[in-house]
Each structure stands twice: as C-alpha cells, then as structure tokens.
Symmetry: C2
Subunit: 420 residues, 2 copies
C-alpha cells in the first residue's frame, strides 16, 4: 500500500503539469514541476515547460535563495545523454517545511507528517471509545495528534509550516468554514480560523471527498492527468472532480455531492431522509441493511458493520445467491451513478478510490458493461476505470497535500481567490 503511494521513486508529489501555461506565474510553474518530477535538470525544466533557459536559471536561483529548492545529484541513468556537460539536478528542499495532515472523524481520526517534498515522516491514528463531536474536544484531539507526531520525529510546532484538516460534511474550502459535519457539533463553524488560533499554525480545511481527489492528484493515479473523477464508497458515497489539474469545488466552493443524487425516484430510504439517493444503495449501512435479511440475522445481533459486510462477501464468494444479489444490485446502482458522472463531466479517467478492501465485491468487467448500458454513446469509449485501494492513510495524505498547497501558495506569494 504505502509503496504504491510513491511508486515512481521517493520525494515526488503534486500534479505533474507540462507545457506552457500563461495563466500562472512562471516561478510557481517551475516549482510545481520540480516537485512533481523529482531531481530534474534546469535544461529539462526549460524544455518541458517551454521556457527559455535563461529564465529557468534566474527563477530557480531565486527559489534556491529562498531555500525552497536545492541542488541534488540527478541519477546518471536517467540522464540519457552520454556526451555533454552533466546536468545538475534540482529538487525540493525536504527540510524547508514540514506539514501535518489530519483526517477528522468522530471516532477514528488519522494523521501524517510530511516533509516539504511529500515524504512521509510519521503517522498516527486516534481512536476514541465514544463518538466525539464537541468542537473543543476535536480541536484538542487534532492538537494532541500533531504534537505527538512532532514529538516522534523530534520537532516542535515551530518547525510546522501548515496543517491540513479533512472534515466530513459540507465544508467551504476557500473560507475555511464548516457548514455542517457529523463530526462536529454546531453549524457554520469558522473552523479554519479557530484551529489556526488554537494550533498557532495556518490551517486549511476541506471536505473529505475532495481530499481523496487531492490525494490522487498529488500522490496517486491522477498525478499525470489534467482531468479525472474520483469516487469513494465508505460510510457514504463521495466524489471529487479534478478539472485542469485543480480540484473542482463547484460554483459555490463546496464540491460535488454524488452520494445524494437520485438514481431511483422515491426509491430506497437514505439516512439523509430522502429516497432514491445513490448512497442508499451503496454505502455501508445500505449493504448492511440488506445483509441482515440475507444472513438471517436479528437486529439484536449488533455486529459491527465492517464485519457484517465481510461476512456477506464471504457468503457471496462461496455461492450464496442472496448475498450475491445484494452486491449485484449495489453494482447496478453504482453503474448508474458513475454513468451520471460520465454524462455530465466526461472525465477521461475514473478512479474508484478508497481505504482497504473496499472494492472486493466489485467485478470491474461487469461494472463496465453495465456502465456502457447506462451511458449515452457520444462516439467515445468509456473512460478507463481504475480501482485504487490505499491504506488507512488515504485521507490523511489528502490533508497533507492540502497543507502543502497552502504553504506553496503563501510562500510563493500567490493569492488565488475563488470567483464568487
């Protein structure tokens, strides 16, 4: 799992953008390209970004002076040229900053510490015996997790450049406000500001579904893609959309809500109170709801949901037709939901991302056939469907990416406001 996260070698992260892009400052483009490509020569930066060599020298010089980049030997094998002056590698200075990424939950929060090059330094998991939703208590948890991780690697909060926090629910990234979350009491909390004051370090907040997209964009299968969609199925169904190397947060800055689009008007009851939501056919509780019947369980058998689903999968694998039909139905509805995403966004890549073993029940071939039957034929083939199961740290990585992008924004003096 962890090896999967940085399979192309260590210390590379972030969206990989090549080609000229007149809309962003060149200095930022160069930095992003170096971070995304690892040790790379100035000449290659110039070629790949379509920039004159002189400009690259000047700007990288400034970046090195401001201690963001450093020179680092480029692997001689990668330098395909034999003749000529050997290239000097450029890389992000890992020790320039360290950041923390925290995935907040009511019972089971996770966190990681990354260096500036995206390398994982340590991680942590916090389980609470009882659900915790008090804002103060959650802030205390975050602070304690950050401090514990810093202590583990012998650093202090002074060394910390930023913290990214993923909060489930409706989160407005640009303002840092949490409109509503099942992991936090109250409504419309100015979470980023409060947390920044509490920790003493800039805090960025985002929706957990957007974090998955960010994780794929920075560390995962979407790094070399300008456009892709990510769908997760966990306690709920989430989606993230990346357009032009950026996470699409909707016109109002919250983000797409796939889980509650209607695939069956007046259909199955969803925990949101409405009927026919996609989530009502796919999420943990929806499967569990049917599993109770299929496995002849009593409601009193309050088996934890994950184990229940495991049992159902085992039953389906060993030929239990009722169990199989439950998963068939889930897949049928998933196909409809994914086809909606394809019809509306037309992504060239579709990633099913999640923690571990979330998609064991899924037969990709069957899913693709069903999706084909649900998707309008615009002459183009369906986008490739990739299943990506990370470890538990998926969201924490996304939160770390959030923190890293916050740092580069402030450090490279970029004020990127979302248009209202």
């Amino acid at each position: 799992m962890a090896a999967d996260i940085a399979e192309e070698g260590d210390s590379v992260c972030g969206p990989l953008i090549v080609g000229p892009d007149p809309s962003r400052p060149l200095k930022l483009q160069i930095f992003d390209y170096v971070r995304a490509s690892g040790p790379v020569s100035r000449a290659r930066v110039a070629r790949d970004l379509g920039i004159s060599p002189g400009t690259v020298s000047t700007l990288t010089g400034a970046l090195i002076d401001s201690m963001l980049l450093c020179e680092s030997p480029v692997s001689r094998s990668a330098a395909n040229s034999i003749r000529g002056r050997p290239p000097v590698g450029l890389a992000v200075r890992p020790e320039a900053f360290i950041v923390a990424g925290i995935k907040l939950s009511s019972r089971d929060s996770t966190g990681i510490l990354l260096d500036f090059a995206g390398q994982q330094l340590t991680s942590i998991r916090h389980r609470s015996s009882a659900p915790q939703t008090d804002v103060d208590a959650q802030l205390a948890t975050i602070t304690a997790m950050v401090d514990k991780m810093l202590c583990d690697v012998g650093r202090t909060r002074r060394d910390l450049g930023a913290v990214g926090v993923g909060v489930p629910g409706f989160v407005h990234h640009a303002s840092g406000r949490v409109h509503w979350s099942w992991a936090l009491d109250g409504r419309d909390i100015d979470f980023a500001r409060i947390a920044t004051e509490r920790i003493g370090v800039p805090v960025a907040v985002d929706n957990d579904a957007n974090l998955v997209a960010l994780a794929e964009l920075w560390f995962g299968k979407g790094r070399d893609r300008a456009n892709f969609a990510v769908v997760t199925i966990e306690q709920g169904v989430g989606m993230g959309m990346v357009l032009d190397h950026r996470v699409f947060r909707g016109a109002n800055g919250v983000g797409p809500e796939l889980g509650h689009t209607k695939v069956q008007i007046d259909g199955a009851l969803c925990r949101c109170g409405q009927r026919g939501c996609l989530e009502a056919y796919l999420a943990d509780y929806a499967i569990a709801r049917e599993a109770y019947a299929a496995l002849n369980l009593q409601i009193e058998d309050t088996q934890p949901v994950p184990e229940l689903i495991d049992a159902l999968q085992t039953a389906a694998a060993s030929g239990n037709e009722v169990a199989q039909s439950i998963f068939d139905r889930a897949r049928h509805h998933l196909a409809a939901g994914l086809s909606t995403v394809i019809n509306l966004f037309d992504p060239p890549l579709l990633i099913l991302s999640g923690g571990q073993r979330r998609f064991d029940w899924l037969n990709t071939q069957d899913l693709l056939v069903e999706m084909q039957a649900f998707t309008i034929d615009s002459g183009q083939p369906l986008p490739p469907l990739v299943i990506h199961e990370w470890g538990d740290l998926l969201w924490a990585y996304g939160a770390g990416a959030l923190a890293l992008s916050r740092i580069t924004e402030t450090e490279l003096g970029l004020v990127r406001e979302d248009v209202a």
Copy 2:
C-alpha cells in the same frame, strides 16, 4: 420576446466581467467589458476592471486604430457626475464585422445576422418539407440562408467575419468535428472545416445545448453571472453549464448530457434505447406518449406533437386530472434532474430556457418545493430558478455569439486551446 433579449438598451452583448483577472490579456478584457457595457467612459473601464487609466488609454487607442472600437457619446444621464470634464463614451464599432448564426435542424433551421455589437440585422427561417440530413444538402441550406440574409441587408459574403453553426448531437467545439447528429448523415464529420471551405468564411460549430448557455451568457439572463446552469426541454433535454464566465464543455470538450442521466433505473424507455433517462419523462415525445392515452387518442391520429401537447395543456388547465397527472409526473422527474445538477455543480443560478411557451405547464413554486426535497441540504438555499422563454431565435442567437467570440479570438490574437 425580442425586447427581452436586449432589455438594457441596444448594442450590448457578451459576458459582463468586472474586477481584475490576471489570466487574460488586458486588451481583451477591455474589449469584452466595453462590448458588454455599451458606451462607457475610459475612466469607468479603468475603475471597474482595476486597471490604471494610462493603460486604458493606450489599449483603447490601439483598439480604435484597429477599427474595433469607436468613440460614441455617452448618455449624459448615465454620467452621474455633474462637475468635471465630460466623459467620452467607448463602444464597439458595429460595422467592424457582421456575423451569421445558424441553428441547423433536419426540418426547421433558423438564422440571424448580427453586427459586431450584437445587434440583430435580420433573421431567417428555413423549413423543408421533408427531413434533410444529407451533409451536402445541409451545407447548401446554410449557404443559402446566409446569402439570403446578406442580400436582405445589402451586403455580401466579403463583409461576413464568421459564421456560427449549432448542430444537435455530439459536437466537439474545439476541433469542429460532429461525432454524431440526427440532423446530419454519417459519423465523425469534420464539419467546421468543410463548412469553412464551402462558405469561404471561418465557421465555428457547437452543440445546440451549449448554444443555449452561450445565448444566455451573451444576450440573456446570465450576462452578469460568472456561474450558472441552463436547462432546456424541447425534443430532448439539454443542459449547458457556465463556469467562470465560460461555457463548460466537459473534460473532453463535448459538453454535459443531462437528458440521458438516469433518474429511474430500468424506468421508462427513452428514444436512445436505454431506460430511465430523464428525457424519457420530459421530452416532447415522452409527454406525447402519455397524451395518447390520456386524451383517448388512437395512434392513427397522427396529430403533430406540438399541437398534441397544446391540447394536453388545455385539458390540464381545465381540470382534466389525467392530463394534470402527466405534467405532475414530468415536473417530479424534472425536479430530480435539476437536483442532480445542483448536487454536482452547485450553480448559483438555474435558468430554464427555451423557445416559446415551453414551460406553461410548469408551476415554479411546486417545482421548487420538489427540488428542495430532492436536493441535499448543504446549508445554502436552493439557487434562484428563472424561466426564460425566448422567441424562435434562441439558438440562432447562441450561434451568433459563437461567431462573435470566434472573431474576437482571432482578431485579438488569442489562441485559446482547450486542454486535452
């Protein structure tokens, strides 16, 4: 109807963008702002766009030299200031170019001629007795329509700057290719190139649903909005999405396809052959299908669909409960479809746009209540819902906007490529 299109006075069109935007050349921003605002002083351009007065003088001077802008008296009442040097108005030079916009159909094509300021010069309607789908015949129709309009205003093809053509179906705007259309035989036609050669004038092509979005963005209710969604219900259900003052064409450049998203898995049969598409509950043929039963008609009574629906509306209005139930059902499904758009794109404005009298059956209040029940509550109220019924020239206006934006792109030396 027509008055509605340019209600703020004549000769203004195009997206109205205020505030600084570092990603676009200043010259283009100024031009767009002047076109969108009508006669406006240099000082106001500088204030509204956040540009220094000196730059505005220099750049408008260049635009006047290249005959794109001209000075024009600004209405004294609009100049709220009494004291001070009177402002000199800037406006688009209407005679700089004329463009044609054509909405292609198999039976009933429409077209308009616009001057460079977006003022309608003339319009035309072409009905053919038999459905016409041959590419050559359609090109001949377009050419004839353009020539007829030019003749009407005493101009020739030499005066024409560009032609915009709206083609139903799957159209790739950037490449000008038509992947598939029910109005054209064949597949994957390089329509823009062929038409350009045939007419001898640059031709831009787009999907008819995107044209509606473009029409609203340039001439309609969306001119002052950065983000909004447009939904049309005609022979099919189409949608257009405007993000950041630009028509969103999806990651692959075709555009969102709302009509065939599934609102009811395995539901009503759609003419696309699939089941449960939104269109199968809303489009002309879907209503007509039910109307046959409701009005006790025989299939032999091959009444034209529009008249049939008119009759059904009359019946519903006069208390026919079966007829009412048909429209209730359509509204219910429309609410689900619109809620999907809101869940995924979160537009701050939703426009229901169409030709004439398309939404008579719609009770907006009821629709909003049903949408509320279908939309996940993210703490924000539903976006305002605006119904905009144009005349027949809706799509032709969109095609005209397409031609105008093509001209400004080439004329102002901008090469805006969509990212693949």
